[in-house]
Every structure is written in C-alpha cells, then in structure tokens.
Symmetry: D3
Subunit: 212 residues, 6 copies
C-alpha cells in the first residue's frame, strides 16, 4: 500500500497520530535510592537494556559453609528491572550433603527447576500439616505455594543446581532457624513458643550467633 | 547435628549463604511526610516495634455530642504500621441512644465485633435496596460489604463499644449527612439530587454547618 | 419537589430507570458446598441477614489443654459472609501461662486487639531476623505483617482475650511445631532441615502425634 | 526468508512448536447461568464475536419518568463479554430538567463522556466533604472516584446524553434515596440514622414505594 | 430530631466525632513531576474540580495523515485525575478510508463506543489465532481483551468517531508496525523474527522512519 | 517443657485448639474439567505431591521445524498445580539458526534463564518503540515486561536451551505472524492494518496455513 515516492511526506504524518503518549508505563525499573512503597520502588528515569539483564546467577554460589548450600538472589534489590513485574529469581547451589533449611517466602510462590543433580524437596500445608515431597532430577519442576514452610536438600552424589523463580519481585526468605536462633529473642521465649528444650535452644543460638 | 566445638567456624559460614537480601520488604511502615501513592505511603527507613503498635483505641471516645457516639480510627494516618498490609481498625463508642449515622467506607469492607453492650446494625444492598439488619450482643460479629450504606446504633440501656476492622489501611468514611449538609453544596442542588424538601435541607445545613 | 398527589404515578415511573441491574454483585456469600476457586468460593444464590452475622466468637474457647490457649476462627469456612470481602476474624483465649505458639498466616496480615488481660506478642522479620515485641494491655492493638513468624502469650496473672482480624477471608494458620512434628515427615529430614537434635525431634513428634 | 517452494513442508512443521497451548485464557465471557464468584462469572465454553459486542446502548433510554432520566447499563449482566476484563459501560439519557440522583458505585470508578447536551455533575469527598463540581459540554470528560457520592443533571435546554465507563465489570449502583425510602427500613430507623424529619421520611417512602 | 435552637451547640459537637480522618485517600491525582511507581504516580497535595475534568477529547484529532486517523489520549499523562482509579479514555477519529493499524494495549482492556459513523473492528485470540470481528454503528459497543492484537478502520462513507475507555490509567499503545519499522532494529533481525522479506522490511522502515 | 510422661494426655489436648480450620486454602490445584473463571480454575478436591510436580520440561522440544525452535509450556493447562499461584514456566529449545518469532504474552511478564548456549533476545517498548536487546550466555537472566513484543534467537554455534518463568499461571502466547497469517483474516484487512504488500501477505498466509 505504502508508496516509496510518498516517503518524505508520510514520515511526518505517520508519527503525528500517536505523539502524545510519552508517559506510558511499559515497565518501572527500580530506583532503589528513593526507597520502597507498598507496590515497589519508584521508577528510574532513564533505562537501558542492561537494566533488564542480570549476570549474577551465572556464577555458582559458594557452598563451603555448614549447610553446604548457597542461595544467590536476583530479587529487586539485585536486579532492579523486575520491579513491578511480579517476578524474580534465584540460583540454588547445593553441594553433596547440603541443605537449604526449612523456610518460607512470605511474599511469593516459588517454582523450582533443577538444572543439575538431584534435589529432595518438600513443603507442608497449613490446614492438615500434610507433607508434600518429591525427588527431583534434572529438568524437573516443583512449585511451592506462597508462605508455606518448605526445604530442599541434595539427594544425590554430585552437586545440585536449581533455578528458582518467584511470583513477586521481592519474595522474602524467612529461615525458621535464623528467625529463632540468630537474634536476641530470649531463650525462654523461644522455648515457650516452640516447646523446644532449653539445651537445644541454647545450642542452636550459639551455633547461629544468637544471644539471650 | 551441629557440634558446639565447631561454633566459631560455623557462625561465619552459616550467615554467608543468605547475606545479600538486605532489601527484602516484609512490611512498609508509612512515612506520612512524603505523601501518598495509589498503593499507600512510601516506606519509613527505620522502624521499631512501636511502629506496629497503637494505643489510641484503648481510650473511650467522647460521646458527649449530638449523636452520642464517637469513632476513633486506627487508619494509616494514625497507625502508620498498617500501611500496605490491607488492614486497619477503629473503635466505636455509642452511648445510650447514640448512633453512628448512615455512611459508607469507599475503600474497604468492615467487620464489627461488639465488646460491650447492644448494637443494632444494618446495611442496604445496591441491587434490590434490601436491608440486612441484626441486633448484636457482646461477642457478636457482623460484616458490612465494601461501599454499601450502613449504620449502627445503641440498642440497649448501657453504653456500647465495638472494635471494627477494615479490609484496607485507609477505608475512608463518607457520612451521607455530612456529604450533603456540611459543605457549600447549594440547597437547590441537594434538593434536586435527593428529592428532599427545601425546609428539610436548610434545617440540616444549618445544624451541620453547611452553607448555600 | 415530590408532591404527594402524584404518588401513584411516580411510583411506577421512578422504579423504571434503574430496573435492569439485577446481577449487581454487592457481596458473595460463600456456597461452601461447591468448592473453592483461587479467588474464593462461588456465591450463594439466596442470602439473608444471618449470612453476615457470626455468633461463634462470643463464646470463650476451651483453654484446658497443654498450651492453655484456644484459637476460635471466623474464617470463610465458619463465617461464609466474609467470602470475597478481604477480611475475617478470630478470637484468642489465653489462660494464665498459656501461649499461641510460633506460627504464620500464609495468606493475610493480622491485627490483634486485646479485650482482656495482658498479652506479650512478637514477630520476626525475614530480612534481618529482627524481633519486634510488645506487651499489650486491654485496648492495645498490634499488627503482624503477612507471612512472618509470630507468637502471643499471656503475660499477666489473669486470663487474656483478644480479637484478631485478618486481611483476607482465609488467612491460614501454620504452626511451626505442628508442621514439623505432627505429621509423618521423617525425623531424619526434620533434623536435616532444622539442625535440631534427634532426641529433641523424637520427643516433640511423640508429644504432637507425629510419626517417622 | 520463507520460500514458496517449501510451503507444503513448512506448514506442518511450523504449527507444531506451539501446539500445546489450548487452555490459554485470553478472555472469560461470563456464563451467567452458573452463578458468580468473587472474581466474576465462570467462563463460557464457546464464544463468538457477538459475545464481545453490545447493541443495547445505541437506543435512547426512556426518560418519561419522574427523574426525566434513564440509565442503560452494559454491565456483565447485560454484556457478558466484559467479565474479568475490568471494564463496563452505561448510557445516560437525561431529558431537560432531568437528574440522575445522588448515588455511589460501590465497586468501580466512573468516567463520564458527554456525547450530547450539557450536564452538571459533582462528587463529594469523604475526607473533608468537599464538593467537586463541573459543567460538562459535548466531548468533555469527568472522572468520579470509586465509592464516592455523586450526581449528574441536565444543565441545558436540550436532552443530554453521556456514555459512562466503569473500572469494573459489575460496578453496582446504590441510589441514596432508593436505599433509604424504597424498602421496608422502618421510618424511625431512617430518621435516627439520617436526622431527617418524620414527615420528610414518610413522604419519600410513599413516593418511592417503601413501607414502614 | 434536630432542633434549630440547638444549632450553635450541635455544630461543634457534631464535627468532633469524626475529626481525625484527615489523611483518608478518596483519590490520588497524579503529581507527574515526581515520577511514576508500579502503582501509579504519587498524589498531588492540593486538588480542585479541574483535576477530575478533561476537555481534550472534545476536539477532533487531525486525520490529515497517511492512516487518515488520529488517537487522542486521556491517559494519566494527559488527565492526571485518573491516576489510581483503574480507568482512562481516548478519542478515535477515523476519516473515510482511515485505519488505526494493528496494535495492543499491554496494560488494559479496551471498550469502544461508536459515536459517529461506521467502524470495522477485530481482535485476534492468542490460543487459536481466531479472529473476532464486527461492523459497529453509532451506539454500538465492542470490548477488546487486554494485550491482544486488534485494529479498527472506517467501514463507511463518512468520518467515524469513537470514544474508547480502558481498564487502567496508563494502558500503553504498541503499534506493531511502529515497533518493527520505526526504530533502529536491524532489518536482518526484523526479517528473522517475522519471516518478512527484506524488500518489504526495508520499504516499511523507510516509510516509518526506521534505520538499520 | 514437654514431658514424655504426659504424652498421651497432651496429644488429645494439643490438637484441639486449632481443629476447626479444615477449609484453609493453602493452594488451589486446578480442576481443569470444571472450566475456568477470571481468577483461574476451581480447586481440585483431593491433591497429592504429584500435583505440584511437572516432568514435561525435562525433555528437549523437537526443533526439526522451520523455526528450528520449540516452546514446551508448563502453564496451568499442563501443570495444574500452578493454578492461583501467580507463576508458571516453559522450556525453550532453539537449534542453531533457530528463532522464537516476534510475540507477546498478554497476561504475564517473562523471566528467561539461559541453561545452555547463546541467545540473542530483545523487546520493544510501546512508548518510544525503543529496542532493548542483549546477548545472553549460560546463566544469564533477562526480563521481558508484560504484553510487550519480544523475540529470542540462537546467537551461537550450538543448540541453546532456556527456562522461562512467567508472572502468571496462564500467560498466553500471541505470535504476531500466526495472528496475522495463520487464520482466515482476509488479506485485504491484513494489508490495511499492517501496510504490508499484498504479495507478502499472501506468501506468508500460504506458509502458515491461513486462508483469505
């Protein structure tokens, strides 16, 4: 339909009909410096392709620690491009014998995709305390509903790696042991609200650096 | 599993695997000074336990007024900790013969819990103008769907008190009489849009401080 | 404006202009028999005032149990009127020495209002494992953000009662101890994902009826 | 790139890569017969172009009534194609001297576009009972925030017509006068919750067909 | 009930019971100068009736261009009053032979209301690539689900005009041809991802001002 | 605190305090047989661990087709466990020279994680038709905002594989070429709304199996 002879004319005309849309919000890359709101961070004024890209998950996390595992997040704090988009990710590295201890994500569901090795994973429902558990091999996917306790550990003889995606840009990560033992919550209170024995509480507080 | 002898080593290792999560948003206490957004106020940078606590509902409202009732809010403006959490509260004190006049909450549903006395409450559906009404005693609960006209009044011989919770941090409160008679909306307009008589409108405008 | 002499005529005319709105959805009382959807239960066809009223919180829960506490819910399952309204409630009865053990609500924030006695309450953030704790007296309010671990216990010498409201009709309640010890999750797994000692795990599994 | 000689081969190959997506939900035309859910009606199994089309707003409403106005809705009940799409519409016909009386939409904001004549419109804020009012001519737009009291009336010497759009498929329409006077809410209660005089209440109950 | 003799007394009393609600958010007119957030713009501190009013759609768009059509938006960027209200609008002017080319709105569904002339409109589903098309006359309404490709063109012998409403304040407008040909996306890439011939791509890049 | 001697007694007591929560909704596995709602499928009555697990992404898609690529979805239709959880996934296999052609997801943002090979990916903004493009290697992540046109193609000398996650359980996939050429949309209409030449349209209609 378009005729090349008309090009110089067409160009100026064609652009006019939709010229007033400058403020359209296709995305909202986080400007972390301005602080958060309940819906996420204010939008950065100038963006480039790099804002939608993250390299941090390409590198294996360091599993030379007690749990022999590492969680490398690509949440909004590390990857501002996901702000407002309802999604984020993380990399799980779990050495042989390693474990990602019992935890919840208060603000997102999780989808785990195994890229290497064997992972045993489970979550526990609130209604009936039912345990849902699976052995996952390379290429398998498992989903963990928002806010429910779950865990993953290496179930094989070689390192395991997984990509996890979250249904929000800032899912949070509350490790039960850290919540109980890695702070100044008094041992007496921990014991009262968990039924754990005093010796057990004090031992884990010591391990995880808690006081009280 | 953890061995006390390993503690100094474990401590440093254990904390590493999850150290990059500093920006996680568990909550967003309102920084009221920076103004609102459609999703609520920007988050305060530094919070303490006091931000999640409110004492203002412990004190009875002053019911020495014409309606013999008082509404004491714990909305985001009074209780910044509820910002972004989808909930807020208020205290209702209704003296004998008192009434919380016809009103709506444009931005939340309401759940009322009677802590003292007897309250007669009702709401009106939009579809069929059906009235749903109940006499509520201590411990009873009633729910009022978002945006619908409702009222409460003391139905007994002693003061009534209720806690009301809302499904949002800033529910709003539009009292029909105040909307019509406590401002400068011209009497002729009020009459046109309500079918009320001129004398009635002028009387209530006078009572409620309206002009025009 | 309206003139009484015109009434018979007006009546029929006035109703006509808005007669086609029969399907308006002011509320959606749950028809529990038809099963849930991600947004709540299908709406009951015929409703009455009783659907928006609940008496179950007027009665104290039985605290003659190990934890000396009782949680009486008014969630959608007990109180179908809250379906789709973004709110629900529960009553907490905590005898002297009683405790509501460490738990989360995966699907709602909680607002607690003390109606009697003294309650010590706290929650733990995920980002820094910070503990936010308060002693609450009659009339005090505290808010617990969605999905975060929290607890309440009686901090006084007389029974404590609280009304709690939730920012959703079906908040869920995941008690950490029940999730770990009241099911068939093998002790070896519990130990692996919590760092708890074998004897501790087996003891609590036994107390809470778990196996494995 | 595609070469016409390869067409028979390409056809079968090209379709394969994306063949498993049969359940994608692009839209959800309401199956009104199966009843509502909090998020709208279940989806109709088979749809056609006619489901996304509505002719009902092309015809002027009958304004031969007391208010000399008519509201013709294209809500989900009349126009099932808007189900789940966050939008609906209505046509306003207001004869000379006509009025759409004071009302709210509990479940949507409204955007009004004048297609003919002159409309005087206003809404009232809840915070300060401030009146926001405008005279609107052909082509003018005004927006009315969700849940706030508002009204429209013909401000000129010829019939006025407007298209109104809503930010939800089922906005509701609560006319204050109908809620108060067109049902069996006892006059004594109406008077108590509105401060209106008994004679005024009884007069309007009579006009609008209420009892009690 | 109210007695004029009591007015001076009543006035002060009546206002007290609800005096603490100053921060209620009935609306949130955009303060465009402060930049966007994922939920919309921060709220303007001081508003007036003019903020809820827009005149820009009263004037016909200039259709003296290649497509013989004009889209005049009343999105949040032009009409800050719709911020946070889940709705916006635009005016379509389509001259005889004119067309609004194939496009999507990434962030809203669209409801089109024909105010003049005849419009042929269609959208295409993603699941089965089914085309849903209608000829629309004055007063007809059609709805276009969020994110799906659609188009409109004048199907009659006189100019056509439509009001379109959107289910969000900032719907976006992605014209397929502009996305492909009006930028610096290399021709080789365009050809690779569209199967279009090189000559075709270069011709349209030239027409629409693209490079590469 | 718990004493083994008390166990038989404790067991019955401990379970009582929270026994009334049977209807809690932790998740809502899709019962696909009952049809969709705007918020997703009704919940399956009985679930097991297998409902939260999907094996289908472990197997490489067949790339022996014209585009030398395959998209293997794990949307709610294939993986009912993601229903209501705001997340889903897919596997991308792109052979050397292969391409996932220009497309949008109307109902979700996409996060792509390269597990093997090199992928060139880009998306185009609606506001300014700006192209955001990146070369992605193993371990790299890129995010594509909801509803915007984007593409991926193999940029290396070996097969590429990626896991993509979506911010919704049913993201949709609208391939521009299929929408235009793989159906019965008349060529004249395609040409009118795209500016493409007749020969080009007919060629691609033929390749993709369209008619008209």
């Amino acid at each position: 339909m378009a005729n090349a002879m008309l090009l110089p004319v067409l160009l100026s005309f064609l652009i006019l009909p939709f010229s007033a849309l400058a403020l359209t919000q296709d995305f909202c890359v986080a400007d972390l410096s301005r602080g958060d709101t309940p819906a996420g961070y204010p939008c950065k004024a100038h963006v480039s392709a790099g804002d939608f890209y993250y390299h941090g998950l390409a590198v294996a996390g360091n599993t030379s620690n007690l749990i022999k595992a590492a969680v490398t997040p690509a949440f909004v704090g590390q990857f501002p491009g996901v702000n407002g988009l309802g999604i984020s990710a993380a990399r799980l590295d779990i050495a042989v014998g390693g474990v990602v201890p019992l935890h919840t994500h208060p603000a997102a569901s999780e989808l785990l995709f195994v890229t290497q090795g064997t992972i045993l994973a489970g979550f526990i429902s609130s209604s009936s305390n039912t345990v849902y558990t699976k052995t996952l091999y390379k290429g398998d996917v498992m989903v963990f509903p928002q806010g429910l306790l779950h865990y993953q550990y290496n179930g094989g003889g070689s390192p395991a790696v997984a990509l996890v995606a979250f249904s929000g840009p800032n899912p949070g990560l509350q490790l039960t042991d850290y919540a109980l033992f890695a702070n100044n919550l008094p041992s007496a209170v921990v014991e009262k609200v968990t039924f754990l024995d005093d010796a057990q509480v004090k031992k884990l507080k010591s391990v995880l650096g808690g006081s009280g």
